[in-house]
Amino acid sequence: MFNFLITGIIWPLVDIDSQLVMVGIKGDGGLRILEVFDKKPHVEEIAGAPTDVPTMGMCLIPKTACDVLISECARVLKLTRNSIEPIMIKIPRKSYSQFSEELYPPTAAIGQPASLTGADWLEGQDALPNMVSLEPKAEAPADGKILSAH
């Protein structure tokens, strides 16, 4: 059980691959970052990103658009009354030259053909989404399931 003291509508933005939840609160300026994991207590607040202007809405940009070489884990578009403020969620590093494999598990492909056609789905087939590796210029592995996002 994880308790927040929140007054207002919340928008949980979930990054299912790295098990992060960005929680935005309507009318509140802050953004809280939670991590979900297998062991108890299952949820932990790992950071907050306080900003001044109250939030009116929030959404995530697809992970394939994040800059992986500067350890950017997610980018949130925060809607205020008359502007949109991008919030970059990243992990500070001493040097940013390398791609960190542990931060970027393969993610669902966006902007590429889906893994099932509508007719196949209606006949009863299930399929997991096509996954892409976020590594720049990644080579497809032998099974060909992981495609490059760039």
Partner: protein, 275 residues
Amino acid sequence: MSAFLIIYFLDNWLTTDSVKKGKEEEEKETEKQEAYELSERAKDARKIVRSSHFRHIRGKMMKSELCYHDLKIAAVPSENPGIKANKVFFAVPWIGGGGPMCVWPIARMGRIPAKAPLLTAHESAVSDWDFCPTDDYLLATGGEDSGIMLWKLPEGGLTEDIKQSTSVLKGHSRRISLVGFHPCVQNLLLSGSADNSLRLWDVAAEKEVLKYQLGDEYADAAQMPLTMDFSKDASSIVVSLRDKTVRILDPRSNGGSALSVQVCVDRSEQFTVLI
């Protein structure tokens, strides 16, 4: 006398020696115990300090010149996050007659002009919208005029108002509350409406594929779907309804057999899901 002394000293020495030995053993034992406790504590500590790659994560506001300014954003229903984005565009509802939408390229930061090009085919306000996950240039909008519109967006962004949508999906009898594309089935769109129904559409063929009536069509919108999500393997749909229930639907079974899950909402606004 001397013998007694010798015995006494011997005795004493023996006793002191045995006491010493005992003390040493005790000390050793306590040391062992302490070492054991320490190791246990270390194990506990390892349990408490969880290793996480995201431990030092930070959220950072972008500089003012990398933000988007002077937007004229219209109000949306409170369950709606108010903005949707993909790699190329973001879409927000715009102030004005009918239900204009502003679709702006993400790469073009800074001030947004007062006469920004809009999508203006809806007759009343837009209540939900979604970008297609397989095509960055396809947007679906659902309006309070009970129509769902599909927009093929030009590459490089809008240069002038688009007054005619690419296609219109008609079928719902009351206002649309929810529009969302399926993440891993090509061209499949789900919509919810205040007529207490969910419909699945084939976007390419522009026709209705499946329909689930969640409540009486002409009653008040008690079973209006507010939010939804698909399971990862495309087999089920989860919708939250206005009557504070969550329904898990098996969409391809007869009529969409539903498992209804009551969501309790107590006065302190703590949500608990009971399955």
